[in-house]
């Protein structure tokens, strides 16, 4: 047990690629926890996907020992936070476990929207914020300007700011000294009833769920019987750990400390981020504040390309759910795609990651239907139904009104791109709220946008219209009434359920036209002419025809060709089997993905 006075719990807030992981690595290296050679590049981003994308999905933690210039020995717990808006809640819990934060800002690029959102969250949690101006060794670095921006925009005192270059190892000592000097030590009574907050977990096939937590009050020991207050789970602590950076067993952890426990918890769904751990004997009266259950915001249908893979897909989703309680799924049947699952995600990145992991780690070939948000549909009989799936859309005759989720978005951009970005927001049905100048050259644009409108390629568009300079963040802002309709796609006269989508009435024609044009290109020609139509109810709003196949024949086949040509035909036949038959029409899987991007630009 470490004396509270010498504990410092802190996290790093940074925009993607402003150098968060590199900085964490350098700090670990500097405190001598790992030698350079032991560092597997960036220790904290564990998942292959995280490394590839340069983002953090799971919060990681590390405990460092440091002897400061004042001669005292300190224990520094660095809690790494996820870096994406989909995981805002997870970030908030990780921040709640800290007393301080390093605000890493790129000396050349300045503050970004994402950073700003997290800084405000850190301020809400009363964290001591230490600005770290990173990459000062870049020729384009303007550290003084960035400092000024931090003062003006966030209102932070930058007198304790540290000039650093994580890459070059500049400023590491200064950062550690500043943390020891300015981040307050944790408070809390080690003898009070136990209250520890869960900020992350993962599933280990030997030990069960490994639960990451920060102790606020009391002490937890190996062998204690614990209760998770929101989920109600109870059991015995098998092991307690601190992060060195691997899990290193300890006997007890008390108020102010950060660690992990294994308690043979079989399912991650019992271990919810934000929940409070207490002891079964002498429990806390009240849980720690701030717990809420993660709710999926985006839904999509996932179907195996090979129908035989249905069970494998279910097993894979179950395995992923072991590690990710925010992933939800339930069986769904589509006429066109057969048996699959309706899956709910926290957001688009979350969806993307899950899909990619299913394909990579479980070697599954998937067909994904267009993602949709959750709509609240008010019926004429006064009831409200929650719609997660276009297939469940009520008969329009019974719909009084539809509400869709909206977000408040903040876009930070150099002022010269304001025009194109406002145009983009307008095109996405955005409502302008206001615009503030961060300095003479940069502005923060505030918009209200339907969540559905930022699901597709909004971020890509934002980047391309601002030459990569604009950054974007949003928070959910409730539901608003909107003129949404269900658009069906008919192929050869048959509606294809998996291609139905919910669209705004004013945009339906445009989306319908784009989609049928795309489908015409993606669906191979058949023996007969195939009309493709987009319809709202019985009204056709767009139509294209696929001309019948004229010719498909091997012109030459002699003695030396038989084996090769037979294999060619086998391959062709195999490809056909992978298509989904809707009526008499064979539709390739890409066609089902066509709905994913309905912008004309990418034609």
């Amino acid at each position: 047990m470490t004396d509270q006075k010498h504990i410092r719990n802190f996290c790093i807030i940074a925009h993607i690629d402003h150098g968060k992981s590199t900085l964490a690595d350098r700090l670990i290296e500097y405190t001598g926890l790992l030698s350079k050679r032991e560092m597997e590049d960036q220790v904290l981003d564990n998942m292959e996907l995280e490394r590839e994308r340069g983002i953090t999905i799971k919060a990681q933690s590390v405990r460092m020992d440091y002897t400061a210039d004042d001669g005292e020995h300190y224990v520094l717990n660095l809690i790494d936070t996820p870096g994406h808006v989909d995981f805002t809640y997870e970030v908030s819990r990780a921040l709640a476990g800290c007393e301080g934060a390093l605000l890493v800002v790129d000396a050349a690029q300045g503050i970004e929207a994402q950073t700003l959102a997290n800084v405000y969250m850190a301020l809400e949690h009363d964290l001591e914020i230490i600005p770290v101006i990173n990459k000062i060794d870049l020729p384009s670095a303007e550290p003084e300007k960035v400092k000024q921006e931090i003062e003006e925009v966030i209102g932070l005192d930058t007198s304790i700011a540290v000039m650093a270059s994580a890459k070059a190892g500049i400023g590491m000592k200064e950062i550690l000294e500043t943390v020891c000097a300015f981040v307050p030590p944790p408070k809390g009574d080690p003898r009070a009833p136990l209250r520890a907050m869960i900020y992350d977990s993962y599933y280990d096939s030997y030990k069960g769920v490994i639960t990451y937590f920060r102790v606020f009050d009391g002490t937890v020991r190996k062998g204690d019987r614990i209760r998770l207050m929101a989920s109600g789970w109870e059991g015995e602590v098998d092991e307690l750990y601190v992060f060195r950076p691997g899990l290193t067993p300890v006997d007890e952890l008390s108020a102010g400390e950060v660690g992990a426990l294994a308690a043979s918890i079989k399912e991650v769904k019992h271990v919810r981020v934000g929940d409070t751990i207490t002891l079964v004997e002498n429990p806390a009266k009240e849980p720690l504040p701030g717990y809420r259950k993660a709710t999926p915001m985006v839904f999509t249908g996932l179907y195996p390309v090979e129908t035989n893979d249905y069970n494998r897909l279910r097993d894979a989703l179950e395995k992923l759910q072991l590690n990710d309680a925010s992933l939800s799924f339930e069986p769904e049947t589509s006429e066109a795609l057969g048996f699959g699952f309706r899956c709910g995600f926290l957001g688009l990145l979350h969806m993307d990651i899950i899909q990619e992991r299913l394909e990579r780690e479980f070697d599954l070939d998937l067909i994904t239907t267009a993602p949709n948000v959750v709509y609240h549909v008010n019926l004429t009989n006064g009831e409200q139904v929650v719609i997660e799936n276009p297939a469940a859309w009520p008969d329009p005759a019974n719909i009084a009104s539809v509400e869709e989720p909206v977000v408040k978005a903040s876009i930070i951009t150099p002022s010269e791109y304001v025009g194109p970005l406002m145009e983009l927001c307008k095109d996405r049905r955005g409502t302008f709220l206001n615009m503030e100048y961060l300095n003479t050259k940069r502005v923060n644009l505030h918009y209200k946008l339907p969540l559905a409108e930022i699901m597709y390629d909004f971020f890509d568009q934002l980047k391309s219209r601002s030459r990569g300079y604009a950054s974007f963040d949003y928070e959910l802002a409730g539901y608003e009434v909107s003129n949404m309709v269900k658009m069906d796609i008919l192929i050869h006269g048959n509606p294809v359920d998996a291609l139905s989508s919910i669209v705004h009435r004013d945009k339906a024609e445009r989306i319908g036209r784009t989609l049928v044009t795309k489908l015409r290109k993606l669906i191979p020609r058949q023996l007969f002419e195939v009309p493709i139509q987009a319809a709202i109810g019985s009204k056709i709003i767009a139509r294209e025809n696929i001309a019948p196949l004229r010719k498909d024949v091997l012109a030459k086949c002699y003695g030396g060709d038989v084996t090769r040509k037979r294999k060619l035909l086998e391959k062709q036949k195999e490809g056909k089997k992978r298509m989904k038959a809707v009526g008499q029409v064979e539709i390739p899987q890409e066609a089902f993905m066509a709905v994913l991007s309905t912008d004309e630009e990418d034609d």
């Binding site: 498909d552 024949v553 012109a555 030459k556 002699y558 003695g559 037979r566």
Partner: protein, 418 residues
């Protein structure tokens, strides 16, 4: 049982832009001579084996590459060697492929070849417009075609094929009409007209990937097919296979062996054979111990009992002239690999190849060959394809409809085993 003999000459003056055949430019006379020696050695080895010795050989086809790249005497020696070692029937069809640009004006080479027993000549002509010939990478001119055909006639070739191509980049229906009119004026007995296949690995493929292959497009291609049927029909030719037209009685016997899925022995580098093996093929593990189609790679020491008698095997020779020669110099058959063709596959291939012919697959022949009626094996498939208007069934045969002829791939794949 009869046998057809294919002999591969893998040399060309230069490779054409569309060609993915096993052919090589740049081999000199010495390399050609030692290749022919190896070829004769291979003939010796086969002539001693039960599958080929004493078997009546009803056709010989010297193909390439460009057989006429060889010196006349060397090419004649190949023909004589085949005749000496194998039992050619008196009326055997003996074809030599020729490039009009590799035939001397005096007709010396063609005389030699004719004397050595060739009775059919097949010229690669492809098109009748200088710009198209250049575009294809052909080495000959329009005039050289005319001179070569005259020389062949003078040498005594009465059975004469011209290979043509259509749906070529830069080709118009009018070009094809002109080509056909001109080709017919040369009075061939047979015309092969191939619509261009852009094969992977060819310069044409690369051009297509780069978006630089100006193919005529669907409508023009359809028009070209109409022109083919119209002009060739009017000139007294009838179509007997997807890409082949002949005057009555001049259908290519050798190629019909392939389309009827009957046995053939391929000699030369990369050549394919289709035979009932009766003795192990070197150390290749052929015949295979199992009856299912199993592919066996060369080089591994697999000693096996022969497969069921009557099983067919398809195998192929080492692809490069050098590897081929080395194997023979070491006294081995130059087979690279092969597969046993089980009955289901044999049936499928019989349909896939047979339905290329306008006469289709004879129900009687199928019954005799497999001991089962066609109906019992493919009844449902045939019904379905009939309903789709791709197949028809009459006069004791199943054949492609006119539409089926253009959509053969869709038909053939239905016969493949699951």
């Amino acid at each position: 049982m009869n046998l057809a003999l294919y002999v591969h000459i893998p040399f060309c003056i230069q490779k054409c832009g569309y060609c993915d055949f096993n052919s090589y430019a740049g081999y000199g006379p010495e390399a050609q001579r030692s290749y022919v020696e190896a070829l004769m050695h291979e003939m010796d080895l086969w002539a001693r084996r039960p599958e080929a010795a004493q078997m009546p050989v009803t056709s010989v086809f010297i193909g390439g590459g460009t057989p006429t790249v060889l010196d006349g005497e060397l090419l004649a020696a190949v023909l004589r060697a085949a005749r000496e070692r194998f039992a050619l029937t008196p009326d055997a069809e003996v074809t030599v492929e020729a490039n009009p640009g590799t035939v001397d004006v005096a007709g010396e080479k063609l005389h030699r070849v004719r004397e050595a027993g060739a009775n059919r000549i097949s010229f690669g002509v492809q098109a009748g417009q200088p710009h198209l010939l250049r575009r294809l990478g052909r080495i000959h001119t329009v005039e050289e075609v005319e001179r070569a055909v005259a020389a062949a006639r003078a040498a005594g070739f009465e059975n004469l094929n011209l290979d043509l191509m259509y749906d070529l980049p830069g080709q118009t229906p009018a070009d094809l009409r002109e080509t056909l009119t001109w080709a017919l004026s040369l009075e061939p007995t047979h015309i092969s007209a191939y619509s261009l296949i852009v094969e992977e690995g060819t310069p044409f493929f690369a051009a297509q990937q780069a978006g630089q292959l100006d193919l005529p497009g669907e409508e023009a291609e359809a028009e070209m097919e109409t022109i083919l049927a119209e002009l060739l029909g009017a000139a007294g030719f009838h179509q007997y296979e997807i890409s082949n037209w002949a005057r009555r009685g001049f259908e290519c016997q050798h190629n019909q062996v392939y389309w009827r899925n009957e046995p053939y022995l391929g000699l030369g580098c990369g050549a394919h054979s289709y035979l009932q093996l009766q003795a192990p093929l070197g150390n290749l593990g052929l015949p295979a111990p199992r009856l299912s189609a199993s592919r066996v790679q060369g080089g591994c020491e697999v000693h096996t009992a022969p497969g069921k008698r009557g099983d067919h095997y398809r195998f192929w020779n080492l692809r490069t002239p050098t590897a081929y020669r080395n194997a023979l110099e070491a006294g081995r058959l130059p087979v690279e690999a092969g597969e046993a063709v089980d009955e289901a596959t044999e049936m499928a291939e019989t349909m896939m190849m047979g339905l290329r012919m306008v006469s289709g697959v004879s129900e009687e022949r199928f019954m005799v060959r497999f001991g089962r009626p066609l109906e019992s094996v493919y009844g449902q498939v045939i019904d379905r394809l009939q309903r789709l208007g791709l197949l028809e069934r009459r006069d004791g045969a199943v054949r492609l409809t006119a539409r089926g002829m253009r959509l053969g791939n869709l038909v053939w794949q239905e016969f493949l085993p699951e």
